[in-house]
Subunit: 675 residues, 2 copies
């Protein structure tokens, strides 16, 4: 610190005056941030120095940081790959690290970032902290008339929760390596630290096993990660300070295992990979010793492959029906005095534990694994709700929250943002709260492909990342959305396709370079939420085309969100500028349907959205009428409200597995006009 | 054929009337195509059947074809993975294959495609032919008011040349697996059949060697294909009927080898990977037995990895200087009576031959390998010009053309399109012409990254693919450009990023979602051509930011091309509609500079293009003046032409390594106004 002040202010000057609490465009918001009027100007002679006792990770990440900055500013920095030779303490950016981190839960990720006119300095106990600080620096890059600079700041930062994860399911739709890598880049940018790979399912066994090769040969139809791929992912993640936790989901969700090794099955049948989505009956026969011998060998292999101390065994959604169908299993249960299949599950978990323990692993699983007699070092991942997490913590079990972070369910960022692993009204004591270690975003991939997955993950996951990193008091939704827009651009610059693929998907769908008409509609619709899109699990299969309007449409459409907000404000303020903006949108939507009908002629695949487009046109017309009455201070004619009710009600119907996101705003206008 | 007519017309109806020679949007244009008024309607019950004696390739490609069609039309076809059970001869699409192909030069790629109201049928001797036919079918997909259909056609098709390749250099910038795969998808779509991987260079040794692991460990800085990656590429390519030819470029271009194994070097020095681009002196010491023992072991390993019969050893651009610096080599040459290093190269080629031959390989190399005494089964790849190809053919050597197909040089599609491996005025006899087996597009990657490489490859490569497949008489440039626009969309739908990355690159460059101002400029500039961009090889290194305006700008900008064309026509016709279009563009360009200056304030990286933007504004103004004089039938004032000459001359200066593409059109307007 002393040397920093030496560089910044010489020895004669006093400490500069700091202003408290500007968030800039930072996401997640740091623990504390003070800013000065200083500007650390960036020129083509910008360099990075690293000192202390850093590991290889920092050199690689500092090099990556240098290239990323150069890619944005285009200076042609001269410095090549940063190595231990780059230890100049007067470098433009100085990174000071005390020790290399161990990549494990609870490791120190704190850092400090100071900047003045002459230098930026990142100081951290571990290289993990330094890496987090480098990401903060990327977000601080600013511009004024004189060019690029880093603003003068004094940041002291550390995460609120030590487990900030993303579950990427690669089984319901296969996700190739480039998806995994760009997801890791995005996660690192918002300081997430666990990639949870959901590797096996009824539909696919997505990883190579050399011990039981039929698992991937028969269970994967060519799409699986080789062990070299996995090593590459782990190395890539490690460099970014991200742990990789594998999930092998048993005893249910295992049709692919049973197709490969039918001797593991509870019921003898011709197993084929599941093509539909949902919950199925096939389950391991957990009463056979063979099953444990098999799992023992497999988990030795996989434990050696994945260095993380946690090993996720799923444990969810076993229906118990296949156990019920097998007389031997029923006899086994009877002999052991087990009344329900839940008791057999408990025994299964208990028999699995030593298999993991001898490989140095701690068991992780979904809520279901919290059973009598399991040791306290397991990790509970809650998909059922905060209650089960509270229950676990009260019993002294560590757990993390996924309920509320299911980004596959197409809910808006602000919904997820306000879900707190430890809500303000928690019944847990301060000591008990420590058992809640964080949360995990879950990206289930029933309804996404490599083309659309990024638009489901980003930018909303950045808001959840902030929830898990920043203080619980950081809850300003407007400011979150303001920063999310900036982070979204930054994430695109890092390789995420969530913005650019919209254009591609629209061009393919419209069969044309001209996608204006389509975009007008797409901007105000969202795919059906929660589990509505595939209600009954009968519509979609792993083969289905995910290239339609519901796939171009994204969650949390900005145009619709801002329209709703503007209407709400307008209804109370009658602000003239807002009115102009609202009327412009309504005219656009009203007129769009005619060109949409023309578009369908060129691209019949869009026919399914004709109703949406027509309804949008009609409610836009209603909105214009409502504003007309509001402006004339005249009452609408008798029956108008009834008529509009029919129109807005109809406009809530789905089309192409999407629904309109501006109907409530129109209803609000109607309601205001009716007063 | 009989059964086809049975399905199509019953036994009572006569053969339909065909119309000759519609090209639809097909690229490459088939050998012969006749069309009828029939429309083979596509419904959700569309199925594919495969009969005959097909290999696994066709089943996989038929499945992929089915999914691709479904992705475009969104029908949710019920048919799963196509297997030998799918042999219904009344399927909507019937594929008849006589035998599985061997993936080698001269293999039969011909096919016939018939369609009538009731069925489409593809008949081919080999599965390769069937795969080419499946791609034609994708391009035939049409739309009318009743929905999707395939038009009635009778196509008989086969390639003009058997070698239609693309060289992908993965060493000057690393190209990860997803780039290779999407390139293969694009190549397959335009019926190309050889992927030539340029794997080693002064800057990188890009492939794992288990025999000499330092080659990739020391020579690649982490970026290399593992042998499993290579197998994956070969399998992926094989399914699409594409051969994979590896290039190990020796005896020059080998600094990365020498860093790993200095004992191979002609000169003892501390070898580091080259960071700049260009031609360097390091070379293998080809007088040592050790060198041949090394190559022997390495090429045994690589020959086993790559099944193709051709093995490319480079052979280009050895400067001979390092040989000259080594007294032992000079003594060796003197002893052998060699006067120049070219003679030593000849010996090197001759000593390499048996090493390849014992592995069942034929040698392929650049022009330089055509030396006295080399056997006739080598393959010459010409980068120096058609002359060396003619010379080779006259001597009875097979060869293929790359001169004229260097797509890294940013020339327009029509330039490449009109380069014929056997020009109409060839001096070669018909027999000699057979030695010219085709051509290869070369994608050297000095100045591209994975973000921009697609925009260099596509769509121009599709035009070259047509040159190599279709008849030499297919040379209508306007029709080529018309079809290229359609193929470009199709290629994007297959995964190419050449269109969508423009938006991403502009957003990053503008640091904003709003890129209109930037796009107005980008649409009329192109990166400097031939070797001008990096004149002297001193500006760019492998670390340089390739994220600037020269990287967003693409070759063959459509807006500029069409403007030039419109101006040319307008100058003779004075067509009023064209005039309106031209004036609109000129006003847009004239006004754009003011907002561009605002944009620079937000994104100083764009400052380098301020001059381009200002010049565009100024020449637009000149253009408007010229049109004014033309319309008034008035002579411009004295000195006007001289003034404009200064302006247009200055507008030809580069900015940000780009130049304006509409200056000649303005000059044409000025010239017309001056008459």
């Amino acid at each position: 610190m002393m040397r920093f002040f030496l560089v910044c202010f010489g020895i004669l000057l006093s400490v500069p005056s700091f202003t408290q609490d500007r968030t800039f465009d930072l996401m997640p918001v740091p623990r504390t941030i003070k800013s000065t009027a200083d500007r650390c100007r960036i020129t083509k002679s910008f360099t990075i120095g690293v000192t202390g006792n850093p590991g290889d990770r920092v050199y690689k990440e500092a090099t990556r940081a240098l290239r990323r900055l150069d890619n944005r500013m285009g200076f042609f920095f001269k410095q090549g790959n940063i190595t231990s030779k780059d230890n100049n303490t007067f470098a433009s950016l100085l990174v000071e690290v005390k020790r290399p981190a161990e990549l494990r839960l609870y490791e120190d990720e704190s850092y400090q970032l100071f900047s003045c006119a002459k230098q930026v300095k990142i100081v951290a106990n571990t290289d993990l902290g330094a890496i987090r600080g480098l990401e903060t620096l990327q977000q601080l890059l600013s511009v004024d008339d004189a060019g690029y600079y880093f603003p003068g700041v004094d940041i002291s930062d550390a995460p609120r929760f030590p487990w900030r994860g993303l579950l990427l399911d690669i089984t319901l739709h296969w996700m190739p390596m480039d998806v995994v890598k760009r997801t890791l880049d995005g996660m690192a940018a918002v300081k997430m630290n666990v990639l949870h790979l959901h590797l096996t399912e009824d539909q696919m066994f997505g990883i190579e096993s050399k011990v039981f090769p039929r698992l991937h040969e028969v269970g994967a139809e060519g799409n699986y990660y080789t062990q070299e791929d996995i090593k590459e992912v782990i190395t890539y993640a490690d460099q970014r300070g991200i742990r990789v936790v594998p999930e092998f989901d048993i005893p249910g969700h295992c049709t692919s295992w049973l197709k490969a090794y039918p001797e593991l099955a509870s019921v003898k049948r011709d197993y084929e990979l599941q093509r539909y989505f949902g919950v199925f009956d096939p389950a391991l026969d957990v009463t056979k010793d063979y099953t444990y011998e098999f799992l023992d060998k497999l988990f030795i292999e996989m434990s050696q492959l994945f260095p993380d101390e946690y090993f996720h065994i799923g444990g969810d959604e076993n229906t118990g029906k296949d156990w019920d169908r097998n007389p031997n299993i029923k006899a086994y249960m009877k002999k052991k005095g087990m009344k329900t299949y839940r008791e057999l599950e408990t025994e299964f978990i208990q028999r699995l534990l030593p298999i993991l323990q001898k490989n140095g692993k701690k068991m992780m699983g979904w809520d279901e694994i919290l059973r009598p007699g399991v040791p306290h070092d397991i990790m509970i991942q809650s998909w059922r709700g905060t209650e089960s997490l509270v229950e676990a913590a009260q019993k002294g079990y560590t757990g993390l929250l996924s309920t509320g972070y299911y980004i596959d369910l197409i809910q808006p960022a602000d919904f997820h943002y306000l879900v707190d692993p430890i809500p303000a009204n928690t019944v847990l004591t301060v000591e008990q709260q420590k058992f809640i270690v964080g949360g995990e975003v879950t990206m289930w991939t029933e309804h996404v492909t490599p083309e659309t997955v990024d638009s489901r993950i980003w930018p909303r996951t950045a808001a959840i990342a902030e929830r898990l990193w920043s203080a619980s008091t950081v809850t300003n939704v407007d400011d979150m959305y303001r920063r999310l827009d900036q982070i979204s651009l930054l994430l695109e610059g890092l390789g995420s396709t969530h913005i650019k693929n919209k254009g591609m998907l629209m061009r393919r769908l419209a069969n044309s370079y001209d996608t204006k008409t389509l975009e007008v509609l797409v901007d105000v619709i969202e795919p059906l939420k929660i589990y509505e899109r595939n209600a009954g699990d009968t519509m979609y299969t792993v083969f289905s085309p995910y290239t339609k309007i519901a796939d171009v449409a994204t969650p949390d459409q900005k145009v619709a969100r801002e329209f709703r907000k503007n209407v709400s404000i307008y209804c109370t303020t009658r602000d003239a500028l807002l009115e102009k903006n609202i009327i412009e949108h309504l005219h656009l939507w009203k007129a769009n349907h005619a060109s949409f009908l023309e578009l369908i002629k060129r691209s019949p695949v869009l026919k399914e959205a004709a109703g949406l487009s027509e309804n949008l046109s009609k409610i836009a017309n209603v909105g214009l009428q409502a504003i007309g009455y509001l402006n004339n201070h005249s009452s609408p004619p008798r029956g108008w409200k009834g008529e509009t009710l029919k129109i807005t009600k109809k406009a809530k119907e789905q089309g192409g597995r999407c629904d309109l996101q501006v109907v409530t705003a129109i209803e609000e206008l109607v309601s205001a006009a009716g007063k």
